[in-house]
Amino acid sequence: MARSWTFGRKVACGFAVVVALAVVTGVVAVVALLGVVAQKDRVIAVNAANLIDAERLHGAVANKVSGTRGFLLSGASAFAEEVKSSRKEALDLLAALSGRVESERSRRLLSEVARAEAAHQAVVERVMSERAASADSEAALARFVEELTPSREEMERCLGEFVAHEEALLVDGRRSSSESASTAIALELAVTAGALLAAVLLAFVITRGLGRQIGSAVQHVQNSSVECQAAANQQAAGARAQASSMTEIATTISELLVTSRQIADSSQRVAHIAGETSGAAGEGERMMRLARESMGSIKSQVDLTVSHMLELGRTSQQIGSVLDLITEMADQTNILAINATIEAAGAGDAGSRFAVVADEIRKLADRVANSTKEVRALIDGIRSSVNATVMATEGGSKAADAGARQFGEVTTSFNRIAQLVGTTTEAAREIELSTKQQASAVEQVNVAIANVAQATKETEASSTQTLQTASQLAGLSRELARLIHPDVVA
C-alpha cells in the first residue's frame, strides 16, 4: 500500500514520524526534567531546609546559651526573655524538623536533639532559677560552666550529628538528583539519538523510495521525452514530407486542372465533331442506300448480260455442233475422195481423169475441212471468249451480289455507325459536362489541397515546437535525473 502513496503522503508521513519522535523526545525530556526538578525540589525543600533549620536550631541554641550566660552574668530579664524566645524558636524548629524529616535515623537523631535540648533546658531553668535566687554571678557562671556546658555540648553533639546526617542526606539527595539528571540526560540523549537515527533511517528510506520512484518516473519521463522527441522528429519530418507532397500534389492538381480544362475543351470539340460526324454518317447512309440501289441495277444488268452471254454460248455450241456435222461431212467427203482416188488408181489409165476429179474433190474436202477447222477455231475462240465473258460476268454478278450484300452490310454498318456516333455524341456531351464538373471538383480539391498544405505547414511548425518542447523536456528530465542520481547521469 505504501507504494501507492503519493509523494506528499510519504513526505507528510515522514514529517509526522519525525514530529512524533520529537514529541516523544520532548515528553521524555520533560518527564526527566520534571523528575530531576522534583528531586531537586525535594532536596532543596527537605534536605536543605532541614539543614537550614538545623543551623537555625543551632543558632537558636547558641542564642539561648548566650542569653543564659547573659542572664547568669547580669540577671537581667531581657536575657531571660531571650532565652525563652530562643527556646521557643528551637522548639518550633524541632517541630518543623520533626514534621519534615523522612528517614528513621533523622527522626532518631532529631529525638536525641530534642532530648538533649530538653535536658539542656532543664539545666538552664535550674541554673537560671538559681541565678534569680542568688546574686552571685560568679557562682552562676561556675555552675554554668559545670552544668550547662556538658548539656550544651551534648546537645551540640546531637545537633552536629543531625546536621551531619542531614548534610549527608543533602549530599545524597544532590547526588541522587544529579544522577537522575544524568539519567534523564542520558535517556534524553538516547531518545534523541534514537529519534535522530529513526529520522535518518526514515529520511533514508523515504529518500531512497522517493528517489527510486522519482528516478523511475524521471527515467520514464526521459524515455518518454526521448520517444516524444523521436516522434516529434518523425512527425516534423513527416510533416515536411507531407508538406512537400502536398506541394507536389497541389502542382499536380493544378496541372490536372489545366488538363481537365483542356479535356473539357477537347470534349466540347469532340461533341461538335461527333455531331458533324453524325450528320456525315446520315449523309453517308443516304449515299450508301443510293449506291446499293445502283448496285442492284448493275446486278440486274449483269444478270441480263450473263443471260445473253449464256444464250450466245449455247448458240456457239449449236454452231459447234453444226460445224461438227460439217467436219464429219468433210471427212466423209475426203474419205469418199480417197476411195474415189483408189478406185481411179485401180482403173488404170481409164480412171486417170476420174482420179483428177477425185483429187479435186479431195482437195475441196480438204479445204472444207481446213475452213471448218478455221471456223471451229473461231467458234472455239468465241465460245472461249463467251465462256470467259460468262465466267467474268458471273464473277461480276457474284461480285455485284457480294457488293450488294456488302453494301447492305455497309449500310447496316452505317446505320450502326450513325447510332454509335449519336451515342458518341451524347457520351461526348456527357464527358464534356462531367469534365466541367471534374474541373470544378478539381478546383475545389485544389483549394482543399492548399488548405491542407497550409495545415501541414502549421503542423510542421507545431511539430517543430513539439520537438523543441520534447528536447527541453528531455533536458529537464536529464537535469532531474542528475539531481536524483548525480553519479548515474552523465
Binding site: 482420179a355 479431195r362 472455239d380 475462240g381 470467259a388
Partner: protein, 181 residues
C-alpha cells in the same frame, strides 16, 4: 484458247478467194502424176501405204470383237457389204498393245482383204518413182516396211500392205480360221 479479237477479218475473203481460185486453176495432167500414197498414223508411227494396194478407206468402222489372244486382231467388221477381219496396224508394226480403238481403217485390195485400223488420216500425197527408195534400216524397221517415200516434208516409211495381207492370210489359214501361235 484462240482469242476472238485475234481473228483475221480478211480470213473469210481469203477463204473465198482460195475457193474460187481452186476452181479457176488448171487441172493437173494425168501423166504428170507419180505414185500415190495414203499418209496415215498408226500409234507412234507415221507411215504411208500405196493407194493401189488398197480397196477402200473407211472411217468409224464398227468392229465386233472376237475372243482371241492375238492383240493385233480387233475383231471383224462389215465393210462394203462383206465381213473382214480388222487388225490394228500399230500393233502389227510395233508389236505393242492397242491403247484405244483406231478411228480409221483401210481395206486391202488382195484376194483375202483385211481391214487395218489406224489412228489418223493425214491425206494423200504423190511422189515421183525416183523418190521411192528401199528402206535403209533393214533389221531395225518393222518387217512390213520395205520402202521409204521421200516427200517435201521428210521421209515416210511405206507399209507393204500386200505383204501384211499375205502374212495374215498365212497366219489364219485358207479357211479363214485364226491359227494360234
Amino acid at each position: 484458247m484462240r482469242d476472238a479479237a485475234a481473228i483475221d477479218p480478211d480470213l473469210p475473203r481469203a477463204l473465198r478467194e482460195a475457193f474460187d481460185r481452186s476452181f479457176a486453176a488448171p487441172r493437173a495432167a494425168p501423166a504428170a502424176r507419180g505414185v500415190d500414197f495414203l499418209a496415215i498414223r498408226a500409234g507412234r508411227s507415221a507411215c504411208a501405204v500405196r493407194l493401189k494396194s488398197l480397196k477402200s478407206v473407211v472411217k468409224g468402222v464398227a468392229v465386233s470383237p472376237l475372243p482371241t489372244r492375238r492383240e493385233a486382231l480387233l475383231g471383224v467388221a462389215s465393210v462394203g457389204g462383206g465381213v473382214v477381219p480388222v487388225y490394228a496396224l500399230a500393233a502389227l508394226l510395233d508389236g505393242g498393245p492397242v491403247a484405244h480403238p483406231p478411228s480409221f481403217a483401210l481395206v486391202t485390195a488382195g484376194a483375202c482383204p483385211v481391214a487395218l485400223a489406224f489412228d489418223s488420216l493425214d491425206g494423200i500425197f504423190s511422189v515421183a518413182p525416183r523418190d521411192i527408195r528401199p528402206s535403209a534400216q533393214k533389221g531395225r524397221a518393222p518387217r512390213y516396211v520395205l520402202e521409204v517415200a521421200e516427200t517435201e516434208v521428210g521421209a515416210r516409211p511405206v507399209v507393204d500392205v500386200a505383204r501384211v495381207e499375205q502374212e495374215l492370210l498365212l497366219r489364219r489359214g485358207p479357211s479363214g480360221a485364226e491359227r494360234q501361235e
